[in-house]
Symmetry: C2
Subunit: 463 residues, 2 copies
Amino acid sequence: MLQVGGIINELTSIVGPKNISSAQAVRDQHGKDESYHSIRSPDLVVWPGNTEQVSNVAKLCNQHKIVMIPFGTGTGVEGGVAALEGGVCIDLSRMDEVVSVNHADMDVTVEPGVTRNFLNTYLRDSGLWFPIDPGPDPSLCGMAATSASGTNAVRYGTMKNNVLNLEVVLADGSIVHTAGEGRRSRKSSAGYNLTNLFVGSEGTLGIITKATLKVYGIPESALSAVCCFDNIQSAVDSVVEVMSYGIPIARIELLDEVTMDSFNKYSKELNYKVAPTLFLEFHGGKNEVEGQAKATGEIVQSNGGSDFVWSTKAEERNKLWQARHDALYAALNLRPGCKGLVTDVCVPISNLPEIITKTKEDIGNLSLIAPLVGHVGDGNFHLLVLFDPNDAEEKARAKDLTERVARHALALDGTCTGEHGIGMGKMDLLKDEIGSPGIEVMKNIKKTLDPHNIMNPGKILYL
Amino acid sequence: MLQVGGIINELTSIVGPKNISSAQAVRDQHGKDESYHSIRSPDLVVWPGNTEQVSNVAKLCNQHKIVMIPFGTGTGVEGGVAALEGGVCIDLSRMDEVVSVNHADMDVTVEPGVTRNFLNTYLRDSGLWFPIDPGPDPSLCGMAATSASGTNAVRYGTMKNNVLNLEVVLADGSIVHTAGEGRRSRKSSAGYNLTNLFVGSEGTLGIITKATLKVYGIPESALSAVCCFDNIQSAVDSVVEVMSYGIPIARIELLDEVTMDSFNKYSKELNYKVAPTLFLEFHGGKNEVEGQAKATGEIVQSNGGSDFVWSTKAEERNKLWQARHDALYAALNLRPGCKGLVTDVCVPISNLPEIITKTKEDIGNLSLIAPLVGHVGDGNFHLLVLFDPNDAEEKARAKDLTERVARHALALDGTCTGEHGIGMGKMDLLKDEIGSPGIEVMKNIKKTLDPHNIMNPGKILYL
């Protein structure tokens, strides 16, 4: 394999001298080991300005069999952008245009540098919004690459359900439009579903350079509610009933007693009961959301939930969801100086009580602190496992806990990742989750689209 | 290639002598040319009783490079089950068990002989239902294979959104579980999305032998409504507004004046105004559906729609949707002795008035009768193009019309098929829709999963 240094001049002529950087500068910029997975630096970083440049970079790398790592915002948690074998990092942040907004059709097309917060700010005056909300502010194309979702998925779906078309540069530099160039119909049964092949491919099959997404009307009214329970089972029973009634709930989040305690300690303004709690939100017309809230309140109370405290005031709602979005910081505040290792599993809803019970036993046995938050309408939950980064033994216990949670999920008909992806962190789990014949199909797809294994190697699959 | 006759004994020993039939018997059973696409008979039909038999049949066919055509109910309209090169038809209708129903998790697993009506009858007492409703009564696995949908897709999505896992037998006989065996979590970002690769693959990548599907609570209340408009534009404007307000409408169907006229003529009980009309349905709690209907009624009237006639009575609702489901028969009744050629395109909603205007010009220029019905919440519509099967010239004009509609859709950012698939009927259109790089990706996937091109060849892609 040619050293990356040998193509610097050609890369520079493709992207321009201001859009390429050496390995050392990259290391200085990105710093060290801020998460569980170690950062591995690429040899070079390029910042292409358009799809043609991305394609030309790919052609050059393909010709010399040099590794490419697509980079959005680096907010993923499974080490998906680590440059395990060096190579060229293709940082897409300078391709940051909202290409089109079609109001009547409620779709937008964005370049890979556009983040979800940027898009929602951009759209605000139009009355539209993009509801998928993983915690931080990732790029929308990165969210597509990871098959991300978040608290609103129970109503609005995940990225899988909201990407209409992708422009993707393959390993050989060819430019594919997964649904055909410029197409944005809401439904299609035209040939193989390439869009959803690239959604969730984590940069291993190609580089997403444009995404056409569904957007939604900002709801006329939103109503948030809180209620707590004596135990997880009653909370989950309530969720099951809400779902089976078909109440089009926008958010239904479970927070365990450890999380609620962390909220109270993190914000002086909050004084929640320290018990398993549901945060809920309803979207729609004013009467509609009140009707939904009333129906949900009755379900909650029939399952032994507390008073159903609800509000349509923006201030109250913001306080609630700010607490939820600060969950990571609130958790870290429980043990200053610690870092957090985030798990992500998803099981059929009815298995939630069992997996949570087992997980809490594990947490106790491993002497760890690990607040739990969950998008329970989908059966998806996370632990924020605290560990002292200077205590190798504790770090190993934290890792052991995440492994145990994932194994419980696999034993309960679930998945080792509901929304964070496989990255480099869950490759063994994926093998056990899918089984050999399915893994072989994945490998064959990878090999046919990237025969030299130069697209973000060492992620998802062992080749 | 070995003649199919050479493996009869081995096939018989796999499926048993009562589950294999000769070509002649098949031809007698299936009859001739009932649709636009000619029926082409396979050499043999086998009716396997379980997945292991399907796998053994595939292994045998793969060994001898003999073509396999998976067969569900034969209700597809693009010739997807035509045995263009003879071979072995694998009729899955005798694998007809509902394998599991998980009430709390609202999912079911079915074998490929289970149809949607069978499942809904089976589920009725449980309070659950599967809402995806293409017109006839196809098998659910066949619906997955075609990426089908229907009138409820605007709320409940298409098959893409409702399949959680598939068991698939590949060309070489290996058995893949696309999400891992027995898994049924609602969300996953674990590896490549194999489930949605096989959804819509029309039997060209493998044989679906089990599907795990989302089901839903039967809504507490349902409300249907009718309103008519002076023109298509006003109807579409209303739809756009309803969608942008996020009203969780369950069905919103457009029927043009020709269709309304056909309804009146077909059923003596009906006396609709002969004008562009919307049929609508709302699902939810009693107050909720009335709230949704009221809000929608206001939107409709602000767009010049007629009085919004609505009803929650089952009898009234059934009358309405019976008329909609009889649309094909009502259309055929306009010219007794004729057959119908069904189109299927989907465009961004705002392009509906333009494509419908162009299409009506084409219908006039071609002197055809072609009632229009559309799932307009998704921008998807069909024409039922009437033609005299004994008039080759008129049949050619009918085909010309369907081609024109598809070309208009492609010119308006749309797709040549929203829910019927490519089959053998739309392979040229697919090439133009997706473009060469995307088609190459599809071909590469096909070749890697079916290197001998024995899985339902001659469909979707020219290899």
